[in-house]
């Protein structure tokens, strides 16, 4: 049966209903006090986009000539496919709206996000940056993909003429719904904020010419266009991930590396056997690059190289610690570049002297310095606060060992308010290395008791969160 205007009207009405079902809560929620201003901006955007999309669909259906369905069915089909495109677009939006509704201020680490945002606002050009927070059912912070939302929103505006612009300065970050009270794990959000800055500064455009040149150099012969583009996309994605890691390290310090290790329990890997009968450090088992992300072992090694750089100068202030996380980081740094590999399901178009996976990896090595340059430029004039950490670590640890929130520190007779990075890193290292000191001071608590450790770990995180709240009030 040929498709005519009645069927199109039905599909359009169904789309109408679908949009309403997604956007209706956004309108209601605007009056609720339990959402932050950035979240409300996000809801207003969705509501206004819903209004514009429905108006566009109504105009579109009214402008269709019913006779064209018979006269030129191919053209009629071409015109009306837009309803499917819009439906899929709202399908995608749906993935973001409910997670945003779930993340009210009682269910996300408000003080940590505020503290990280305050640090980020000190970057040139980001004074007014804000973040709407979403909840995700995925536990992996690094796969949630909230950064793509902004591009997508702009693209809808290209076919819905009256679509509102996505609010400038509004970034979107997502955290696993179950981890809202886990201060230390949520340090990973600093990486997500890096994606926002990467986009806003248009770093991809800056890096692309270097990436293309490195691919050409690594290939040493012309590549088929599709292979060239595929390789370019991989290297650029890896560049962005490394940029975001380094961004997080400059923004908040080595606490980001600790969160990264803890999230995936990288401290519990088995040593990797080699063909010569020896073993490599356990972290060497994570030496494979993925299509979208660099190898975890490479990322952790790069963390250390960056923490050692004069730009942030963190490493010498933490390296003597006793945490097994620090040992793991040192082992990652010591891995030779030759152990890293990349394999993918992509079928290269032609045979080359060097296979495309190797070309892609070599191009990435060639562009690494440019990523570090990009980060130095991003943070020009912004201190890593590592020297403040060196000065304040001991008193902050002592406060925590007595269950005191380190919002104000008395140092040599002067009361000072510590800044964000020293508090977060001193508290995180206290949690990793000195929790026993606190537990031993609690009557009835035992260091061997896992329940006790979990309980007092949670307390340390709460005190840290309270300190951040006081500091940024």
């Amino acid at each position: 049966m040929p498709v005519g205007i009645d069927q199109v009207r039905h599909d359009a009405a169904s789309l109408y209903q679908f949009i309403d079902s997604i956007a209706s809560d956004c309108q209601r929620i605007e009056q609720y006090p339990s959402y932050t201003k950035p979240s409300k901006l996000f809801f207003t955007y969705i509501h206004d986009l819903a209004f514009a999309t429905k108006a566009y669909v109504a105009d579109f259906v009214n402008s269709l000539d019913p006779a064209s369905a018979v006269a030129d069915p191919q053209d009629f089909y071409s015109r009306t496919q837009v309803i499917r495109t819009l439906r899929m677009s709202w399908f995608e939006l749906h993935n973001w709206v409910k997670p945003a509704l779930d993340a009210d201020t009682l269910h996300f680490p408000f003080s940590l996000v505020k503290a990280l945002t305050a640090r980020l606002q000190s970057l040139a050009g980001f004074k007014n940056a804000e973040f709407a927070v979403l909840h995700s059912t995925q536990l992996n912070y690094f796969q949630i993909g909230a950064r793509q939302f902004r591009d997508f929103a702009q693209e809808i505006g290209q076919i819905v003429p009256s679509a509102p612009p996505f609010p400038s300065n509004l970034g979107i970050i997502a955290l696993p719904y179950s981890q809202s009270s886990n201060t230390f794990l949520n340090i990973a959000l600093a990486h997500e904020m890096g994606h926002f800055v990467f986009q806003e500064r248009n770093e991809a455009a800056r890096l692309t010419s270097y990436v293309l040149a490195e691919i050409q150099r690594a290939a040493a012969q012309p590549l088929a266009n599709l292979d060239f583009v595929w390789s370019k996309d991989r290297v650029l994605q890896w560049c962005e991930e490394i940029y975001c890691d380094l961004f997080a390290l400059w923004l908040i310090g080595p606490s980001f590396s600790f969160a990264f290790i803890e999230l995936f329990a990288y401290s519990r890997l088995a040593p990797r056997a080699t063909q010569s009968g020896g073993t490599l450090a356990p972290i060497a088992s994570l030496s494979a690059f993925y299509d979208s992300h660099p190898a975890p072992a490479f990322r952790l090694g790069e963390h250390v190289r960056f923490l050692k750089s004069p730009d942030v100068d963190w490493w010498d202030k933490i390296e003597s610690g006793t945490s097994h996380y620090l040992q793991l980081l040192s082992e990652a740094e010591a891995l030779p570049q030759s152990i890293f590999g990349f394999s993918t399901s992509h079928q290269q178009s032609q045979q080359y002297q060097t296979d495309l996976n190797s070309i892609t990896l070599r191009a990435f090595w060639g562009v690494m310095d440019r990523i570090r340059d990009a980060i130095s430029s991003t943070f020009a004039g912004v201190s890593s606060e590592s020297n403040l950490f060196k000065q304040l670590r001991e008193p902050i640890s002592e406060y925590l060992s007595y269950g005191v929130v380190p919002s104000r520190i008395v140092l040599e007779g002067n009361a000072i308010t510590p800044s964000v990075a020293p508090v977060v890193n001193a508290a995180h290292l206290f949690y990793l290395e000195q929790l026993d000191t606190l537990i031993n001071r609690i009557r009835g608590a035992q260091v061997e008791c896992l329940d006790c450790r979990a309980l007092w770990s949670e307390r340390v995180e709460m005190w840290t969160s309270k300190a951040l709240e006081d500091i940024t009030a």
């Binding site: 053209d75 071409s78 496919q81 677009s89 796969q143 993909g145 793509q148 996309d233």
Partner: protein
């Protein structure tokens, strides 16, 4: 086929870009000149086909905008083969540069037909990835 969230969103992005181009092309198909927005989109599409030479192709990739990602270019390539649309570059050039409004209109209609297929394939890839996620 492994599709991550980045790749999935690029397919949706391709569908939206195709639709935007189709909307502009409809004006040309009815005898109107190519507007500045369409001129920009079609020149990018043209560069992405490689027809203008390798240097132009590399230069195009530096722009990081539409028609520069693997998902976009591979879908176009796939449909060129499937539909026998081997003169895509010539059709785009004709829409952009032919002196005759009639010829431009005819070629615009061919391009609309091709981009409708691209939009549909991109939506299919997007939907496939969502179904895989639910599986």
């Amino acid at each position: 086929m492994r599709v991550d969230s980045e790749s999935r969103s690029r397919y949706l992005s391709l569908a939206l870009t195709s639709r935007r181009t189709i909307d502009h092309l409809r004006n040309v198909a009815t005898g109107n000149p190519v507007d500045a927005d369409l001129d920009s989109i079609l020149n990018k599409l043209l560069a992405s086909t490689g027809r203008e030479g390798n240097a132009n192709f590399v230069s195009h990739l530096q722009a990081t905008g539409a028609w520069t990602f693997f998902e976009e270019l591979s879908t176009v390539d796939e449909l060129k083969d499937e539909l026998g649309f081997n003169d895509l570059g010539e059709v785009v050039v004709s829409v952009l540069r032919d002196a005759s409004a009639e010829v431009r209109g005819q070629q615009a209609k061919r391009l609309i037909s091709f981009l409708t297929a691209v939009e549909g394939r991109a939506l299919q890839r997007y939907t496939d990835s969502m179904e895989m996620r639910f599986a």
